[in-house]
Symmetry: C2
Subunit: 109 residues, 2 copies
């Protein structure tokens, strides 16, 4: 046990959960906020900004990149990261749809 039983759920449910998991860490939220503010930055900037070790920062960047929400391009010796606008919009639309207005009277039984 310990592993999530993804086969019990729909593709959509697994996708929403995976997207939520991608942003379910304050460091990754901080990275995304920093990228939105600065438009682009290199890994080293984030190491200074976050206060986490270089290895840890790189690992969080990798997770965000795997999720597709950021992209990196090699810029000489460093790597420049920025938001992937297409995927960013997908996230916005998906969370928007999930939390859409419903007639919630909170009538519990």
């Amino acid at each position: 046990m310990g592993a999530t039983k993804t086969d019990l759920f729909t593709k959509q449910q697994n996708e929403i959960a995976a997207m939520a998991k991608a942003i379910a860490h304050p460091a990754r939220i901080a990275i995304l906020q920093y990228l939105v503010k600065k438009n682009a930055c290199v890994c080293g900037d984030l190491v200074d900004e976050l206060g986490l070790a270089q290895a840890t920062t790189s690992q969080h960047l990798k997770e965000l990149k795997t999720a597709g929400i950021i992209q990196g391009s090699i810029e000489g010796a460093s790597v420049c990261y920025c938001i992937n606008p297409k995927v960013w919009k997908q996230y916005r639309d998906l969370f928007n749809a999930f939390f859409k207005e419903v007639d919630l009277q909170g009538s519990c039984c």
Copy 2:
């Protein structure tokens, strides 16, 4: 190591991450979708619906309840759960604000 270094991040960053974590599992997404559809249900309904063990289902319900996004009221021998509309709206507004429109040209360096 292993524990998240919450002290490195702002209260807001930790809050957004915590909210994302609350819905970062397909079973919890499925529970919320079921509650939106049915308006209210008891734990046993979800055990049948999800296909997870009773103990596991109860645990996921507890996490959603701790996050505040659902509420439960004792109804005889069973417990009736429903969405907490106030917190639901907070989630919607917060994710909405986080993923708000920004001028993302995706211009990476």
